[in-house]
């Protein structure tokens, strides 16, 4: 703030004078009046002086000072402003301001008074530069323009620098408003300097929103930054707003249109429309709307992605239409890569490059290339093809005369930017010749030709390096030649060191001597050199015919490099003792001749002839030097050949010859031969005719004085194979524990290798069930015998089992592998001694047991008899029965113990089997009780035969008659001995028997019909008369092997055994099965015995 001091001088002096003069009482009134007056005067003084002096400057040269006018000052008041510090310079002004020159730094007294107005006070101010404000004038925008295509505003204004006394820094501030000046979107500062003269400044600003979208307004102000000015510096006022607006037509439009932007940048689109926009989308993505003036809307896209060829569509959708624009997001051109410039012909330079990263911009937005050569100032532009590839990025630049160094700059440009790549080349070092053409060959002689070709281009200034490829069968040779370039493009060179009569294929490629690149190979040119005389005689050999009368001369056709032409014929001659005799001329396809020679040692010569001449002769002696010490050796090859070695022999002066043939062929056998130098000690014999598994004979001959001597004879295989057939073997002999096998040799052709042995396998097995599988797998049940003794032709297999089938397999093997197998089944013979022993031992045991049993029985016969056959008391000795003796005697037919089959006619029937023991007791009694009934059925019989019945234990069907009589269903044979004891009682019962006659009567009627009893039985009649067993034995079916069965007491001879003879203690259980036969008629046999034994 300005520091202003105001001093009142004269009024203060007048007040002091009046106060000193007045001293009376009136003085108080006067004093009061005076005071009032003074007060009024003071106030009037204050109101009448200029005040509030303020100074500003806009150019630092003139200060514009202003003050407030006193209240009494009217129109027409003239002020005088004086600067006291200077030489009292005063300035008059009718206004309340005055422009004074800028004062120096420091305080300056300024007085301002009103002229012609005495009594008015003078205002004094102290003025310093610090109290002065520097406020530039409001700037004025000269021009505001817009580039709608780039959305750029261009601002132009004048800095009015001429008003400033010195160089100053000026800061400009520009503000940009949108939305009808309501929104400041940009406030930027711009620094300039003023240099004492007016300067028009330009400033551009690119809007992120298309300028068409809304009105843009611009204002500007400035600030002078003078470091030497100590006063207050302030911004100028804003300039008036300048507007930029787009005058839309009636159609809706979307902006920006067809813009190309960098991928990843942000962009704003707007739709200038009078319709209501419903939505907006970029591609398929909806975007939020930003409302602008009116119905205009905008969308903002961040980080836009790369566009397709046809661009990215941005659309705004209204009620019934879609409006849009297309944006092309891509990349600026990459730096051209691998820029290379070279020439094919030194007439034109071709520069190629790789465009690098794709820009994603096509069509008119695609990258354009310009090739600029700085030395000549020439340039060529790249004409784009529709679908460029990397190979198509090339430009041709016409070479300039006498210019070898070229500095190329390739500029790449697209709407998003530009890039460049440079290359400096010496074009004579970047020659990449085209393909040589028109290759021609001309003869010089049989070993040299002239080669000519055409190479497009003007290479007169350089030398060419050309490579000639000389290709013949199985051989490729490349020769480099350097030739001076010519203008007419025709070149020729001589090529020597060729072979006569050889087909060569030539091709050529060239480069500059300062090598850069080879041209591509020319087309091939074939050429046959002319013939020359054969360089060597043919390789010869001789064999005597099998009868020894003819000598067969063989020779090999000359190789093409030695024949030197087409061999037409061979001349064969022989010489003996310096006397040469030409024998025959053999045309070419034939390579042997048969000569009739005696046993003299002839020298045979063979000469090959072609159209140019004859070869040197090949000579061989007809006779062979004998060798007594000759052994046959074996050798095996290496698959494709066989290696033969021998010791060095200095006596061999010529060479060694190895001949070979198939061993299965007849003599003279010659497949081929090979000559090796005399200093060699080994040779590898190889031939396409060799086959694996075939036996060959190799003969090594040594040569001394043109005579050959057989040194070694070798049989061998190139490669051994497994035998193709199995050895044929037979079984010569078999026994119970061994087999003798014999086999035959395998023929050599089928052996296919040197036989190393046989493998013999055997195992137990039948023909259909046993198969030896996996012979090599080491099965434990297979026994293997390896027979390596090749002279062995038989094999005995021992320790076999008798009467057992064995599976025998035999196979041969070589070093090439195992041959096929041949198998046979053999059954060993039965072991008869063992069988006999197996039979005899049980028989012997049985006999021994029988004998021992018999001995024991014999020794114990008394005991047995006592036990089983106690003596039966003779009834005749019984006095109680003596009365019957007469009766018995009178009956001559009465017999006892008749050993006939007996048919018991009475059985004891028991109700239950469990009561058997008791029944036995009661049985002794019960038959007596029932006897009367039984006896009523029995027929009176005066002749009683008691037959002996062996102890047959069989089921017996009860006699129906017995059943009727007994009324029981079970039959039990009662122990005879137990039955016998109660014999005492029957005697009492016999007395009461009404039927019984005198003496003893048996309790049952035994119809004896036997007629076969012999007289021996009669002798016992007395002993048996009168005794009858108490049991009804009718039901007994006693069968003996030699007696018929007795089932019917009436019709059959019934013999009744003595109770003592019935040794069975078995109950006879009536058969439950009514259908079962009464007797199976098996008779008395061991079988029956054993079968019934379990029933005991």
């Amino acid at each position: 703030m300005m520091n202003i001091s105001l001093r009142l001088r004269r009024p203060s002096r007048m007040v002091d004078g009046k106060r000193m003069r007045m001293t009376s009482s009136f003085q108080w009134l006067l004093l009061t009046f005076i005071l009032l007056y003074l007060m009024n005067q003071v106030n009037s003084q204050k109101r009448g002086a200029p005040r509030d002096l303020k100074c500003i400057t806009n150019n630092l040269q003139v200060w514009d000072c202003s003050w407030k006018a006193p209240s009494g000052a009217g129109h027409g008041t003239i002020y005088e402003v004086c600067i006291e510090s200077r030489s009292h310079s005063c300035y008059q002004s009718e206004k309340t301001n005055a422009k004074i020159p800028a004062l120096l730094p420091g305080d300056h007294e300024i007085t301002i008074n009103r002229l012609y107005d005495f009594g008015n006070p003078i205002s004094k101010f102290t003025l310093n530069e610090k109290n002065v404000s520097l406020i530039p004038d409001t700037p004025e925008i000269l021009n505001l323009s817009a580039d709608f295509s780039t959305s750029t505003l261009h601002l132009k204004w004048n800095d009015r620098g001429s008003i400033f006394p010195r160089h100053l820094n000026v800061i400009w501030e520009v503000k940009i408003l949108r939305k009808e000046n309501t929104e400041i979107i940009k406030l930027v500062t711009h620094n300039t300097t003023v240099n004492g003269k007016d300067t028009v400044h330009h400033w551009s600003w690119a809007s992120d929103m298309p300028l068409e979208c809304t009105t843009h307004s611009v204002a500007i102000r400035c600030y002078v930054d003078d470091p030497h000015f100590s006063g207050r510096k302030e911004w100028s006022d804003w300039s008036p707003l300048k507007n930029i607006s787009w005058s839309p037509d009636s159609q809706t439009k979307v902006f920006p249109q067809d813009k190309v932007i960098l991928v990843g940048s942000d962009i704003t689109f707007c739709c200038v429309t009078q319709e209501k926009v419903l939505s907006a989308q970029i591609g398929q993505t909806n975007c939020p709307l930003i409302h602008l003036d009116g119905e205009n809307v905008a969308i903002k896209i961040h980080n836009i992605s790369v566009s397709a060829n046809s661009g990215t569509n941005v659309v705004f959708t209204t009620e019934d239409n879609i409006f849009g624009t297309v944006i092309f997001a891509g990349y600026p051109p990459d730096i051209p890569q691998k820029l290379n410039c070279e020439t094919y012909d030194l007439k034109e330079i071709i520069c190629t490059w790789n465009p690098g990263r794709p820009t994603a911009l096509v069509g008119p937005r695609n990258t354009s290339y310009t090739l600029f050569e700085s030395f000549s100032g020439k340039y060529v532009k790249f004409k784009r093809v529709e679908a460029p590839t990397n190979e198509s990025y090339q430009l041709f630049f016409q070479m300039r005369p006498n210019q070898e160094i070229y500095n190329f700059t390739l500029n790449a440009r697209n709407p998003l930017g530009r890039s460049e790549s440079t290359i400096l080349v010496n074009i004579t070092e970047k020659v990449y010749p085209r393909i040589p053409t028109s290759i021609k060959v001309k003869d010089i002689n049989s070993t040299a030709v002239i080669l000519s070709w055409h190479l497009p281009g003007n290479f007169a200034k350089i030398k060419l390096l050309c490579q000639i490829e000389i290709n013949k069968t199985n051989s490729v040779q490349e020769r480099n030649i350097t030739i001076r370039g010519v203008e007419n493009s025709s070149y020729l060179v001589a090529v020597d060191q060729l072979n006569p009569y050889t087909v060569y294929t030539f091709r050529i490629r060239c480069s500059a001597e300062t090598f850069w690149k080879w041209s591509k190979w020319s087309n091939e040119k074939k050429y046959l050199t002319t013939e020359a005389i054969p360089s060597k005689g043919p390789d010869t050999w001789r064999e005597w015919s099998s009868d020894g009368k003819n000598l067969i001369i063989y020779w090999k056709p000359l190789p093409i490099n030695e024949a030197n032409g087409k061999i037409l014929s061979y001349n064969v001659s022989c010489s003996l003792d310096e006397e040469t005799q030409s024998l025959s001329e053999i045309p070419d396809p034939q390579h042997k001749a048969e000569l009739q020679l005696d046993k003299n040692d002839y020298i045979i010569s063979v000469v090959a002839k072609n159209s140019v001449g004859s070869s040197p002769p090949s000579k061989i002696a007809s006779m062979e030097i004998p060798n007594d010490d000759l052994k046959v050796e074996q050798a095996v090859g290496m698959g494709n050949g066989i290696l033969l070695t021998w010791n060095y022999d200095p006596s061999m002066t010529c060479d060694y010859v190895i001949k070979w043939c198939n061993s299965s062929r007849a003599e003279p056998c010659l497949m081929d031969w090979k000559k090796v130098p005399s200093n060699s000690t080994e040779a590898v014999i190889e031939s396409d005719q060799f086959r694996p598994g075939v036996r060959y004979n190799f003969f090594l001959y040594g040569c001394r004085n043109q005579g050959y001597q057989l040194l070694r004879s070798i049989i061998g295989y190139i490669e051994e194979l497994a035998p193709i057939v199995a050895p044929n073997f037979t079984v010569e002999d078999t026994s119970a524990d061994s087999i003798l096998v014999r086999w035959e040799d395998i023929p050599v052709e089928e052996l296919r290798g040197f036989l190393r042995g046989y493998l013999f396998y055997f195992e137990k097995g039948e023909r259909d069930t046993s198969k030896i599988r996996g012979l090599e797998s080491g099965r434990s049940d297979i026994k293997v015998k390896n027979i390596t003794d090749l002279s062995q032709k038989t094999l005995r297999i021992a320790d076999l089992q008798g009467k057992t089938s064995y599976h025998l397999v035999l196979r041969a093997y070589t070093d090439g592998g195992m041959g096929p197998e041949k198998s046979m089944f053999v059954v060993t013979k039965e072991n008869s001694v063992g069988l006999i022993i197996a039979i005899l031992i049980p028989v012997a045991v049985a006999v021994i047991v029988g004998v021992v049993t018999s001995i024991l029985c014999y020794r114990k016969r008394e005991w047995i008899k006592e036990t089983f056959y106690p003596d039966i008391p003779n009834p005749e000795n019984c006095k109680a029965l003596q009365f019957q003796k007469s009766v018995c005697e009178g009956n001559s037919a009465l017999k006892t113990l008749e050993m006939n089959p007996c048919t018991p006619n009475n059985v004891e029937v028991l109700e239950t089997r469990s009561a058997v023991p008791k029944i036995e007791d009661t049985e002794i009694i019960s038959p007596i009780a029932e006897r009367p009934e039984e006896s009523s059925d029995a027929e009176p019989e005066n002749h009683v035969v008691v037959s002996y019945c062996p102890p047959v234990i069989e089921e017996e069907i009860p006699n129906p008659g017995v059943d009727e009589a007994g009324g029981t269903s079970q039959v039990i044979y009662i122990d005879v001995q137990s039955m016998y004891q109660p014999q005492a009682k029957p005697e009492e019962e016999q007395e009461s028997d009404p039927v019984g006659g005198a003496g003893y009567k048996p309790q049952m009627h035994l119809p004896i019909t036997s007629t076969v009893e012999d007289l021996a039985a009669d002798a016992d009649l007395d002993k048996t008369a009168g005794y009858r067993p108490q049991a009804n034995v009718n039901a007994w079916n006693l069968v003996s092997p030699d007696s018929p069965r007795s089932t019917d007491s009436n019709s059959e001879i019934v013999s009744f055994g003595s109770p003592c003879s019935i040794n069975s203690r078995q109950f006879l259980i009536p058969p439950k099965d009514e259908d079962s036969p009464k007797s199976n008629g098996g008779g008395w046999s061991f079988t029956n015995f054993f079968q019934n034994k379990p029933n005991d």
Partner: protein
């Protein structure tokens, strides 16, 4: 004017290679003389029908190929972007006389041919790699040229009409890319619609 130089004019020069080519062709009086450069085919109507059928058969595929090549959102907003809203498209009355129908067909094919030339030119710049679209556009333009020649032959031979006033579609050369895409799509949509009616009428 660029479109006339690049697309329409060559087409018209080929089709009307005679004195006064390029000027509007009024329908000549019936008795006016009419001459063609080449003798007309004996069975013109069959050829015309076949060519129409051929165009009708390929129109939809061309339409699909076109709007697919323009990118989104064209395929999903066919009604608003590719609707057949072509205001100045020549009319066609299927129930008219053969002569009327042929004259209308001539106008339609001339209109379509010129528009197709514009579309082809625009797409070669905009979609240089869409070779199948270019191929189909070229093939369609070729058939249209043949059809136009045949129709002219027929009109000339039978109805002695040598000149027909034709109108062309809007020039797209000065329009922005989106307008080119949209106008092309609308034209092809209209073409697909119209060619079906025309083919049916013949």
């Amino acid at each position: 004017m660029k479109v006339l130089a690049a697309g329409v004019v060559p087409l018209l020069l080929v089709l009307h290679w005679k004195h006064g080519a390029g000027s509007p062709l009024p329908i000549t009086p019936v008795n006016a003389t009419c001459a063609t450069r080449h003798p007309c085919h004996s069975n013109l109507m069959n050829q015309i029908r076949n060519q129409l059928a051929q165009l009708n058969g390929s129109a939809n595929a061309l339409f699909i190929l076109y709007y697919t090549a323009q990118g989104e959102p064209f395929p999903n907003n066919l009604d608003k972007l590719c609707g057949p809203n072509v205001t100045d498209f020549p009319p066609f009355h299927a129930n008219g006389t053969e002569k009327t129908r042929l004259v209308e067909l001539y106008r339609i094919i001339a209109y379509l041919g010129a528009s197709l030339g514009n579309i082809t030119r625009d797409q070669k710049v905009l979609n240089p790699n869409a070779l199948s679209l270019h191929s189909k556009l070229n093939a369609t333009a070729d058939i249209m040229r043949g059809l136009l020649s045949n129709v002219l032959c027929r009109l000339c031979n039978k109805y002695h009409v040598a000149h027909v006033d034709v109108a062309y579609g809007p020039d797209t050369s000065g329009k922005d890319v989106f307008q080119k895409k949209k106008l092309g799509c609308q034209l092809l949509g209209k073409y697909k619609q119209v060619i079906a009616v025309v083919a049916q009428a013949f």
